[in-house]
Amino acid sequence: MANPHRAEAIAGTLLALPAFILMWLMLLGPAVAVGLLSLTDWNFGEPRIGFAGLENYQELWGDRVFWISLRNTVIYVGVSVPATVLLGLLAAIAIEGVGRGRGFYRAAYFLPVASTLLAMALVWEFMFHPSVGFVNQVFRGLGLPTADWLQNPDTALFALAAIGVWQNLGLAMVLFMAGLKAIPPDLYEALAMDGADGAWERFRRVTWPMLGPALVFVVAITAIRSFQVFDTVQVLTEGGPSKSTEVLLFTMVQQGFTFLRSAYGAAITIVFLVLTLAITLAQTTILDRRAHYG
């Protein structure tokens, strides 16, 4: 071998090249293209394309449906993320400390993550059935108010959020379990030496502060996944009743693919991307700050 460094450099480049090209073709290139497309006036299939500056964004600004969609997405995320994170954390702590039956509980709570959401959404449609559905039967039994959850504009978005919580809770749970395992046990022992070993004290003084980075991560992951809500909307409500479950990705598909307004759909995609990136940015900022002062 004449020059091993040169040989290594060539091998490195060649091995990385196929994935690098595919990454640009399928992901980075199209992401750039979506940004450029959003600055044009192109509708799918039209022969000519013209520069439109920020016209699509101006139209979005005045589009009532877009604002409803954005508002609904934010409500959906705002409801499902805290519920998912809180229940996931409770489940993780309870299962870690329960001893026998751990394997069963973990599997039961995680199963929805590994199942086909679309198939399960249809089961949920039946669960939310106004007369024979499980949900109303249980609510009636407990003396709680009942509703036609998916057909009522006041409840439909929350019913979808409940399905979202059900599906993502197990994910939050296993991520928290990994975080819990990383807490050194001697911290709890030290706390016990101080004479404080109640469950609440343990949680407040050790678990919660030590779990910080995991918490930020789980919130970010859950938020990003919730922003992508689409499957349940598409098969159960189609944005209705009266736009009460219209969410960003659904609006994007409607505009970009059903109405063939590619450029307008691209502008919605950019809004969606910016919101997702904002979550990631917030996550890194918070983690950095903790790293500096914590």
């Binding site: 460094h5 450099a9 060539i10 091998a11 490195g12 480049t13 091995l15 990385a16 994935a19 690098f20 595919l22 399928m26 992901l27 980075l28 199209p30 293209a33 229940l87 309870a94 039956g101 509980y105 973990r106 599997a107 039961a108 995680f110 199963l111 929805p112 993550v113 590994a114 199942s115 086909t116 959401l117 679309l118 198939a119 399960m120 249809l122 089961v123 449609e125 669960m127 007369s131 024979v132 499980f134 059900w166 809770l169 994910l171 296993v174 991520l175 379990m177 991560f217 789980v218 922003f227 992508q228 689409f230 499957d231 598409q234 970009g256 693919f257 995609t269 969606f272 990136l277 990631t280």
Partner: protein, 271 residues
């Protein structure tokens, strides 16, 4: 003691809620139409209707075809992902070449882009190539997994350099080192990567919905949505039978390989 019982009680209630949809799905898939809407829920049917429901699920729509499509698509996607991700991960983790840092920065950047973002340009490109409504249309956008590259790179970094140096002394090429040295040592990471890739692509609905309209190309989620639309809520028995069949492969795989699944998801959280 009391605390332990209470914890179990709370966890059991939670587990009942988490499992209720699965139990309901199985239960309805066994019942005749008359019992599905009975006001009092019974777990088991009085008149068994399983054969009729499951037969209907496979004959009213080409359910077997959907399952085979799903299998074909997920296998092709994972093969392409592994074939491209492993060499790049090795190059990023263990080789020195110009542009390595920049390439890795791009992988991290690509990780931040939600999979729905490239949809419109990809659709336009596939349309111009005349590839809409083909298997290629479903498969191509997923052939790259930046998550896989990232995961494998992190894992490969922990492999000792001596092992690679010894392989080079034995005359192995860099390509051979990826597959004969790195691949076997990274088995757990690859298992996690494979599990996630299968969960994600078997369940994927957004992109196949856009890319194909023809029944014979539909993947399981698309097929079952199509079935549900066609039946418009009239035949819950066969629909739940189809839902059971579609959910079963992943659910069973998960129950058999829980550790790989959970580890995979823990390593990432991405999907």
């Amino acid at each position: 003691m009391v605390k332990r019982v209470l914890t179990h009680l709370a966890l059991l209630t939670g587990a009942a809620v988490m499992l209720a949809p699965f139990i309901l799905m199985l239960s309805i898939s066994l019942k005749p139409p008359g019992e599905v809407f009975s006001p009092h829920f019974a777990l088991l049917p009085t008149q068994w209707y399983a054969v009729e429901n499951y037969t209907a699920a496979f004959t009213k729509v080409p359910l077997l075809r959907f399952l085979l499509n799903g299998l074909f698509v997920t296998l092709c996607i994972f093969a392409a992902q592994a074939l491209t991700a492993l060499p790049m991960a090795y190059a990023l983790a263990k080789l020195r070449w110009r542009g390595r840092e920049a390439a890795f920065a791009m992988v991290v950047l690509a990780l931040l882009i939600p999979p729905q973002v490239p949809a419109i340009p990809l659709y336009i490109a596939l349309w111009q190539l005349g590839l809409l409504n083909t298997y290629a249309a479903i498969i191509l956008p997923s052939t790259i997994s930046v998550f896989g590259i990232f995961l494998m790179r992190q894992f490969f970094r922990t492999v000792p350099d001596d092992l690679i140096a010894a392989a080079r002394m034995d005359g192995l090429s860099e390509w051979a080192i990826v597959w004969r040295i790195m691949l076997p040592t990274a088995a757990p990471a690859i298992a996690a990567f494979a599990c996630l890739s299968f969960i994600w692509n078997w369940n994927e609905f957004f992109w196949p919905l856009i890319a194909v309209q023809e029944e014979h190309l539909m993947t399981p989620p698309l097929g079952i949505a199509f079935f549900s639309n066609a039946e418009a809520g009239t035949s819950f028995g066969p629909l739940m039978a189809a839902a059971t069949v579609v959910t079963a492969p992943l659910a069973l795989a998960f129950l058999l390989a829980q550790r790989a699944f959970i580890e995979g998801v823990t390593m990432t959280g991405v999907k």
